[in-house]
Amino acid sequence: MKRHFLSTRIWHWINLVCLVVLFMSGLNISNAHRYLYWGEWGFSPEQAWLAVPRFPGWATIPDYYSLAAARDWHILMAWPFALGLLFMWAAMLVNRHFWRDLRTSPAEWHPRSVGADIRKHLRLDFRHGPGKYNFLQKVSYGLVFAVLLPGMIFTGLAISPGFEAAAPWLVDAFGGRQSARSVHFIFAWGIFAFFVVHVALVLLSGPVRQMRDMITGGKA
């Protein structure tokens, strides 16, 4: 088992704090208008594709309804989140973490090999082959790094009217501002789902060692 890079460990914990604050302040922001739409516009329930439940105070930042204060937190933590992701991508490409550990080979996509990996996971057998990560890990980390995390930043920029003047094509790329807002919401829950599975697998595969390794780097 290879050690975790220092850049990976620093980013991992900073990113955790960012995601928790962004997610919980985001739930407060969601409470301000609990309807999601497709396309450019939408302002009333009959145009919505989803009526979102009201999130309780214990799940939101701050723990009472305040769109202004929630936006303060969201706007602040967007900076370390976005710059951190940029840093992590640069670090992964430079230190070869991406090429060596996260990239999949065509053989890994063979249905038989995918099936075998799924069965192995279902038996809670987490022993690894020669690589650092198995196929399902690579696919889920790939999805998080390449789609969900950057997707949050791009959809966030697309719903900002001040940024729109700089890059109107970004709004178009998501099919309109309300579509970008819907995707922002869906991706946030996608990251939450990853978080739940990620924590569950850490708990099942030796939480003390896993936590220690993500702090100290682990034994080579």
Binding site: H33, W58, D72, W73
Partner: protein
């Protein structure tokens, strides 16, 4: 249930820590600094005259939602309404060489700009409408705006929660080509719920920066002595961000 209580407890602890940070002076200045970084980043990434998207008539939403004040509850406003706003005046003052008092007719005599734009409310919803009116830059030029003016303050006839509505923007947004004083929406005189007879369109910012029932425009060097000093009704009363481009 126990695990859920533990999670809720951990959540509450975290949220408690967050509000402690927000209440501390370093924390709150960090929060407002972040807003400023966004404004600077937006300004650095686009030119002063970079436009927001303009749509076609086919994109106009079937209704343009009214929000905040939906009318002005005063005898004077009802009288203006009954007379079709013929006596409504827009005062232009502050740091200008020639203060103006403009009727709707005089505003309509300026070159008009018609733009179909998307309105984004801070709550999250959007509507699209076609707005017509003179550019604010033309009005400020006619009034002989001073080079000492750093902000434009918009005064309104409506009150919300007992406080006069007002807003302000810096000169970049004030002089932006799409910043207009709208008197028409979708080819009709402005409806009451959307701010009749005049409202601002500040297209690069969220809806609360587009004041309705506009009565006066004031050029100032600083916002410190206006209202509670934060530059607008929502900023003063509820701590909303003065830069609402995000």
């Amino acid at each position: 249930m126990k695990r859920r209580a533990l999670l809720a407890g951990l959540g509450a602890m975290f949220v408690g820590a967050c509000s402690k940070v927000a209440d501390s002076s370093v924390g709150s200045s960090l929060l407002s600094a972040a807003e400023d970084w966004h404004r600077k980043a937006h300004r650095a990434l686009s030119s002063r005259t970079a436009m927001v998207r303009e749509y076609t008539k086919a994109d106009i939403s079937p209704d343009f939602r009214g929000n905040g004040s939906l009318t002005v509850d005063t005898e004077a406003y009802r009288a203006h309404m009954a007379e079709g706003f013929v006596d409504w005046r827009l005062e232009v003052g502050g740091l200008v060489a020639n203060p103006l008092s403009l009727s709707l007719e005089q505003l309509r005599a300026f070159p008009q700009r018609t733009q179909i734009t998307r309105h984004d409310c801070v709550e999250g919803w959007s509507a699209i409408g076609e707005w017509t009116g003179p550019q604010l830059s033309a009005i400020l030029e006619a009034a002989g705006i001073s080079s000492e003016a750093n902000f434009i303050v918009f005064r309104c006839a409506d009150t919300l929660g007992g406080h006069k509505y007002y807003e302000s923007v810096d000169m970049v947004d004030a002089l932006h080509p799409q910043t207009i004083i709208a008197h028409r929406l979708n080819g009709e005189n402005l409806p009451i719920k959307n701010g009749a007879p005049l409202r601002m369109r500040i297209e690069k910012q969220l809806g609360y920066k587009h004041p309705k029932y506009l009565t006066a425009i004031e050029a100032v060097a600083s916002l410190d002595d206006i209202g509670l000093g934060k530059g607008g009704y929502w900023e003063d009363q509820y701590g909303y961000q003065w830069y609402a481009g995000i």
